[in-house]
């Protein structure tokens, strides 16, 4: 993140925080998580011992008493990392850190106007999940109808990917109930003065019957006049324990590249997925779930599937077995490019089996085990199999403190950490300030 963007985020936050003065947050929830990892990273023929220490801090204040704004609250979330041992390849030299969220929100005019100012994630309609330093305002002048408008500077991700400099958008919605909503939206993202994304969207989540939920989504790229993303799904819950979903999704992967990128001029792509999923809790102790999706692209087809059985052995233990499959039947071009492993028949993908279990040895002590085996259709780096296992122990020291330790062991075809230890300490207090009399 650049200095200017950090400064802009902090300035916005400071501005927002000055709005409700004098004010006091009556409740503050805080979560502090300390993670210590240790693993050996093999890269370019050398083994590096890497020990990152990561502190994640999240603070949320609610019930801020003030005379100007209703439901005033704030959220502050960030992380910092220190590197011990050798440098981890993804990290910045020595250390790292950033502010993920820093916003103030509240409402005015008897909750007809809601606002959020600061570093935030804008969601809903064509915004997808848009991180901005800016403002998001929702106005509901009459019951059920409303308009959300937002704008600000796009937060550049940690790896300095240019996804835009500024974004603005709006969404008009009709919300007859909490569970049903229909919206029309628009988003415009600029990158170095060029239009990077310009999309119009329609979305709907409708519950015509208590057991039936229908959703639809269409995102039209107004630069290319074609569908960037479209989705239709229906979820039916004939029994409280049985849920079935059917879904069709179309995406245009090239439209997920910034239109300001030179690569946006080379290709036209589409990807279709159609399939469904289901989950059934047959009894209190036994449940099954799975999904299957057919995949169609311009250069091939395939499918992905998954089936899982879960057995709850008593009140403390859960054991499950999952099988997964991915098949891609690709065009011959992939066989010669070298960097995508395919069989002679042009197949790519894998089979996987996953055995997992959790056991509460006491209300405060949880142990979890996860064993995975992958069998690749086409050898990866000369190997057709991969194994990995994770064992974790979590102990709730008190209502406020939790500690955990996890170990990972893996045998994989590519250079990756094969042995890893992760220690975690979580401190999760809620502070309620005293009532002064």
């Amino acid at each position: 993140m650049s200095r200017e963007r950090t400064g802009r985020a902090l300035a916005l936050l400071a501005l927002a925080l000055t709005l409700p003065l004098p004010a006091r947050a009556d409740n503050v929830d805080a979560t502090m998580t300390t993670l210590v990892q240790g693993f050996q990273d093999l890269r370019d023929g050398q083994v590096h011992s890497v020990v990152p220490i990561i502190e994640l801090v999240s603070v949320r204040g609610t019930d801020i008493q003030n005379s100007a704004v209703d439901d005033l609250s704030f959220v502050l979330s960030g992380w910092g990392a220190l590197q011990l041992g050798d440098q981890f390849q993804f990290a910045d030299p020595g250390s790292g850190g950033d502010l993920d969220l820093a916003y103030v929100q509240g409402s005015e005019f008897d909750k007809h106007l809601d606002f959020r100012v600061g570093r935030q994630l804008v969601t809903g309609g064509s915004a997808q999940v848009l991180p901005i330093d800016g403002a998001d305002v929702t106005v509901t002048p009459v019951k059920d109808f409303g308009l959300t408008a937002y704008g600000g500077a796009i937060v550049v991700p940690r790896f300095a990917v240019a996804e835009g400099d500024a974004a603005a958008g709006a969404r008009a919605f009709w919300r007859p109930s909490l569970t049903s909503e229909v919206g029309a939206s628009f988003v415009d993202v600029l990158d170095q003065g060029l239009v990077a994304r310009q999309e119009a969207g329609l979305d709907a989540h409708v519950v015509p019957l208590q057991a039936l939920t229908l959703t639809a989504y269409a995102l039209l790229s107004t630069i290319d006049d074609r569908l960037a993303e479209g989705e239709l799904s229906a979820t039916w819950q004939p029994l409280p324990s049985l849920e079935l979903t059917g879904e069709y999704r179309r995406t245009a992967p090239d439209l997920f590249i910034s239109a300001a990128s030179i690569f946006s001029v080379f290709a036209e792509e589409r990807q279709d997925e159609v399939g469904g999923s289901g989950s059934w809790r047959i009894s209190r102790w036994f449940a099954v779930d799975g999904d299957f999706y057919g995949i169609g692209t311009e250069e091939g087809w395939g499918h992905r599937g998954r089936a899982r059985v879960k057995l709850t052995a008593g009140p403390t233990t859960t054991v499950g077995l999952e099988g997964r499959e991915l098949l891609l039947q690709l065009a011959p071009a992939y066989g010669v490019t070298g960097f995508i492993p395919v069989t002679e028949a042009g197949e790519n993908g894998y089979y996987a089996a996953d055995l997992f279990g959790t056991c509460h040895f006491s209300p405060a002590l949880l142990a979890a085990l996860d064993l995975e085996d992958y069998r690749f259709r086409a050898p990866v780096n000369g190997q057709s199999e991969s194994y990995d296992g994770t064992i974790s122990v979590v102990y709730d020291v008190s209502k406020l403190w939790q500690v955990s330790l996890a170990g990972v062991e893996a045998v994989t075809p590519l250079v990756a950490p094969n042995t890893e230890v992760i220690a975690r300490v979580v401190f999760n207090p809620t502070v309620s300030f005293r009532e002064h009399k």
């Binding site: 993140m1 200095r3 409740n27 805080a30 502090m32 990561i54 801090v57 019930d63 979330s77 910092g80 250390s95 935030q120 994630l121 969601t123 809903g124 309609g125 997808q128 991700p157 940690r158 790896f159 990917v161 996804e163 909490l178 569970t179 909503e181 170095q192 003065g193 979305d203 989540h205 959703t215 989504y217 006049d225 995406t251 090239d254 997920f256 590249i257 990128s261 030179i262 690569f263 290709a267 989950s279 779930d289 692209t297 991915l326 992939y334 490019t337 997992f356 959790t358 979890a368 990995d388 974790s392 979590v394 406020l400 075809p413 250079v415 990756a416 992760i422 502070v431 005293r434 009532e435």
Partner: protein, 353 residues
């Protein structure tokens, strides 16, 4: 000290200070034996008379002031028996204010239950016990609240649901097994307001960070073996190219080109100067059976993963107007775009100078 190092130190220091500050809250509590007072025939309204007019939780005066207690216990105070009411008489404080995130009108409820407080408050706290508010099941015995619940009108009672570890098992927002992996995004696009009933953005940012998260979610929660949100679980590295092919937009939703190049460069997986670990086959740059041209048409996202450097991108060197690579635009592109657009789009000027 670099800016990032300063942020890291500040966060660590902040966490440490906050921890120390919060630890210090193990302070005085008011000790009140409800059972003994009731046994003596002291009615609830004797101490809690302000409840009859209280329209909100936490209103001032609902808990009796010291003056109310001293109507009976003045002698005890005069004799210095402070420990009778204060758990820490050396540092006496007023009531500890508990979380109150419910809309609760005592005045109207007292009428409905005919002033029988025990209708809802079936358990009252004794000294050194924590106050247990009535269970939600008690509220649900009322028909009105049952209807509110079924219609998702949480705000009738709950100011804020984000602090509760609830998970819908059944109903419209059933978070079934593939909820996080496939279906939550569909719901969130349209019903953000419903999501925000229970989740604030700190929950979303576990995965959807404004910045790329410092650690993948499966490293943060290795014990959640039963959850499907762990996209990079297990041996992700070996299968990342397959997963990327199976869902072309998946990687691009969170990662940009420099994410790929940082790893490929560190692993010496680059086409630089005759590198034997060059990911491209011989003849990649030239026309022929192993040419990059077909792959670029079919899967430009893969090319973009490493080669998108704006005007400095490799492709421009050969494919700019007059370059040896010739016109790279597919017919479909030429059909949609005319040469008049060049002047309006600065990106076109990278090649069309």
């Amino acid at each position: 000290m670099s800016r990032r190092a300063a942020i890291a130190v500040a966060l660590l220091a902040g966490a440490s200070c906050a921890g120390r500050f919060l630890f210090g809250q193990q302070a005085d509590r008011i000790l009140f034996p409800h059972a003994r007072h009731l046994k003596e025939g002291i009615d609830c309204s004797t101490c809690h008379d302000k409840l009859y007019d209280a329209k909100k939780l936490g209103e001032s005066g609902v808990l009796p002031s010291e003056a109310t207690c001293l109507q009976c216990h003045q002698d005890d105070k005069d004799k210095g028996k402070c420990g009778m009411c204060h758990s820490d008489p050396e540092h006496p404080l007023s009531y500890f204010r508990e979380d109150r995130h419910l809309e609760m009108n005592h005045a109207s409820h007292l009428e409905r239950v005919k002033e029988d407080c025990r209708y809802c408050h079936q358990v009252l706290p004794e000294p050194h016990e924590t106050f247990e508010p009535p269970k939600m099941a008690t509220c649900m015995t009322c028909h009105n609240h049952q209807v509110d619940y079924e219609n998702g009108r949480c705000e009738v009672c709950h100011e804020d649901l984000t602090r509760y570890p609830l998970q819908p098992i059944t109903g419209t927002f059933s978070h079934g097994d593939d909820w996080v992996k496939r279906r939550h995004m569909t719901a969130a696009r349209s019903t953000t307001a419903a999501c925000q009933k229970c989740h604030d953005q700190t929950y979303c940012s576990n995965c959807h960070d404004a910045q790329t998260v410092p650690i993948p979610v499966e490293t943060r929660y290795p014990e959640k073996v039963n959850d499907d949100f762990q996209i990079h679980r297990g041996d992700w590295l070996s299968r990342h190219s397959m997963e990327a092919l199976a869902d072309r937009t998946m990687c691009a939703r969170c990662h940009g080109p420099s994410f790929c190049t940082s790893c490929h460069t560190a692993q010496n997986l680059t086409p630089a100067g005759g590198n034997p670990r060059n990911p491209h086959p011989p003849g990649w740059a030239f026309p022929g059976p192993t040419s990059h041209a077909t792959a670029a048409r079919d899967d430009i996202g893969s090319c973009q993963s490493c080669h998108d450097q704006g005007p400095a991108s490799d492709c421009i060197q050969c494919h700019k107007v007059g370059g040896i690579g010739g016109n790279p635009h597919p017919a479909s592109f030429l059909a949609r775009h005319t040469s008049t657009e060049i002047r309006r789009n600065a990106m076109c000027l990278y090649c069309h100078r």
